[in-house]
């Protein structure tokens, strides 16, 4: 237990060091730094989607909150005279506020109805942005959205944070903090209530849990994170478009869902792994661009059929197979094989629970 704990820490430190040195490793390669920035931003968006699955709902509207965040950020920076950090935070808060207004009626319905509502409202936000000429630039979109700009930092001195080389650190830092918040919340007592609601929301209400209230907290928090990711995107790209083919379209919602499922939606790091793997894969197959959706789709199908717990679930699954393989031949009576298999799968369930609990 402690051995694997140490292993885990070593692994995380290694990942952190690599992530920190990435710009040097890539020797400032603009293209790959852009890919990594967008990757970090997407990881946050997918994590916000996963956060909603804690109450057993699938939100197809996270891009809707991202677009609100993005255009709020742009407006605050271009017309409101805000500086970078307050604008990012306020954008997230505004997304959360819009989510709060929608949360009650939305969360009164469940399952597919909730998904449809979120999908439609996201598309509505996009269309509003697409036609609201005076605020969002309409079909042409906005250009020249300022990023963090040149700032005078302690120790480092004057730094142009708009350069991908430097913005990379901002994106990673913001996403990291946001993920830590999500991680923390998932370990807090509130998440036990979410789990109770996810398991049986009528019973949760009957034992005194304010079902709609807890669901609203979850939804609003997820919208906040989506808003932050939208603001980061706007700050990085400097131009925004609400076109159907932009990253705020329905297709993107579906991709986010695929990223989450491929990574493993019951694991906190699932969105990170799923998004990273599929993004890197898409980048490496750029020469076959027209086949990319098919490749992604094929991978999603393979993962769903053979690894329902997602890529992060593979170690647990291998362990299960190994255990079954070990105990299988050793079983003295043929009849007890069933029992052994049963107990192995129980252990796997317990293991999955542990994994969930420990992250």
């Amino acid at each position: 237990m402690t051995k694997s704990g140490v292993g885990k820490i070593v692994l995380w430190v290694a990942i952190a060091v690599v992530a920190f040195l990435m710009p040097q490793i890539l020797s400032g390669n603009q293209y790959w730094l852009t890919v990594l920035c967008l990757l970090a931003i997407n990881v946050l968006l997918v994590s916000s989607l996963r956060s909603v699955t804690l109450i057993n709902e699938i939100s197809l509207g996270q891009v809707g909150f991202a677009i609100i965040g993005a255009f709020t950020y742009a407006t605050l920076m271009m017309k409101g005279g805000f500086s970078f950090w307050p604008a990012v935070i306020v954008s997230g808060l505004f997304s959360a506020f819009v989510a709060l207004l929608l949360a009650y009626p939305f969360l009164k319905v469940k399952g597919i109805y909730f998904s449809i509502l979120t999908l439609l409202v996201a598309e509505t936000f996009r269309l509003v942005a697409f036609y609201w000429n005076s605020l969002t630039g309409g079909p042409l979109g906005l250009t020249g959205v300022p990023g963090p700009g040149t700032q005078n930092l302690p120790i480092l001195g004057e730094i142009d944070l708009d350069r991908p080389y430097n913005f990379y650190y901002i994106a990673v830092a913001v996403v990291l903090v946001a993920m830590l918040i999500l991680y923390y919340v998932e370990r807090a007592y509130i998440s036990f209530q979410w789990r109770a609601i996810r398991d049986d929301n009528t019973l949760a209400g009957a034992v005194g849990i304010n079902v709609i209230g807890y669901k609203m907290v979850n939804f609003v928090l997820a919208a906040f994170m989506a808003g932050i990711s939208g603001a980061l995107f706007a700050g990085y790209q400097h131009n925004l478009s609400a076109d159907a083919t932009s990253r705020f379209g329905v297709t993107m919602s579906i991709y986010l869902l695929v990223y989450m499922v491929v990574g493993g939606k019951s694991y906190f790091v699932g969105p990170l792994v799923g998004t990273t793997v599929l993004t890197l894969l898409a980048e490496n197959t750029r020469s076959m661009q027209e086949y990319q959706p098919m490749i992604t789709g094929a991978i999603a199908i393979v993962v769903m059929l053979f690894m329902p717990a997602g890529l992060v679930g593979i170690p647990a699954q291998i362990q299960k197979w190994r255990r079954r393989g070990r105990s299988g031949p050793a079983a003295p009576v043929s009849g007890s094989g069933v029992v052994v298999a049963g107990s192995a799968s129980d252990e796997a369930v317990a293991l999955a629970h542990d994994e969930q609990a420990n992250g």
Binding site: A188, Y189, S191, Q193, T202, G205, G208, D346
Partner: protein, 259 residues
């Protein structure tokens, strides 16, 4: 005269044109076990749903300890002390028996906005007093040795007992039991009846029980109400109810039907 613990005044619930519950009056005194019987579709479960807030009434008032709770959502009624065991085995599926009871103990833990965000899930779950209390409840329903079993792995009868333990975890004054004996064998039935008697006599919990098993109702309840087509047919001691010609007609049909 003492105020009844729960009083339903003239409550109705319509589904479209159908009156599932039609102007029913009901009163339960503290410490009583009230039986609700009636043929299938008589509106018994609907009436329980109205009392615990799963459904809103179409007309009428529901008073609990003098509060008008007609418009309260289920969780606020739970705060006031109304517990519920559903007809299906409603349990927190991903949890063990012990965790189910811990989740049911929600009202017993600190649950203000800061407490739920500021405290770790594991720390609340590992609090010894909470675990002791939950184990005691599991012991009460006879499941102490299966505390770490995933609830969906328990046999049907034990799952129903666990449902009772989950409901008791919120310390209800009034417990609504919806057909606690369905699908149980003779042994399980006896043990469930014992549990209901015990929780009434030892914990002083008032119980409203909906049940098809008339013999069990005869053994359990001091008073019973017979519903038919959403209306109250008879109220009285179970023996008197069962002997009432109107009740016999509701269950078996009138003589004229036979001829």
């Amino acid at each position: 005269m003492a105020m009844p613990l729960l009083e339903a005044q003239n409550v109705s619930r319509h589904f479209g044109g159908l009156a599932a519950v039609d102007q029913v009056d009901l009163a339960v005194d503290e410490g009583e076990i009230l039986g609700l019987i009636g043929p299938n579709g008589a509106g018994k479960s609907t009436l329980l749903n109205l009392i615990d807030g799963t459904l809103r009434v179409s007309a009428g008032r529901i008073m609990f300890r003098g509060h008008d709770i007609t418009r309260y959502p289920p969780h606020r009624r739970a705060h006031l002390g109304i517990g519920r065991v559903f007809q299906k085995n409603a349990l927190f599926k991903s949890m063990t028996a012990l965790e189910n009871v811990l989740a049911g103990s929600y009202l017993h833990t600190e649950h203000g906005p800061w407490a739920v965000i500021g405290r770790s899930y594991q720390r609340v779950r590992k609090r010894q007093d909470l675990i002791d209390r939950s184990m005691e409840l599991l012991g009460f329903v006879g499941l102490a040795d299966q505390a770490d079993e995933l609830c969906t792995n328990l046999p049907h009868g034990s799952q129903r007992e666990l449902c009772v333990a989950v409901a008791l975890a919120s310390d209800p004054t009034l417990l609504l039991l919806d057909e606690p004996l369905t699908g149980m064998n003779a042994e399980e039935t006896t043990s469930m009846i014992d549990i209901i008697k015990k929780l009434n006599s030892l914990r002083g919990t008032t119980v409203i029980v909906v049940e098809h098993n008339v013999r069990a109702v005869l053994g359990l309840c001091a008073t019973s109400i017979v519903l038919n087509y959403g209306q109250k047919l008879v109220e009285g001691t179970p023996h008197a109810c069962v002997a009432d010609p109107a009740v016999i007609e509701a269950y078996l049909g009138a003589d004229s039907d036979v001829v």
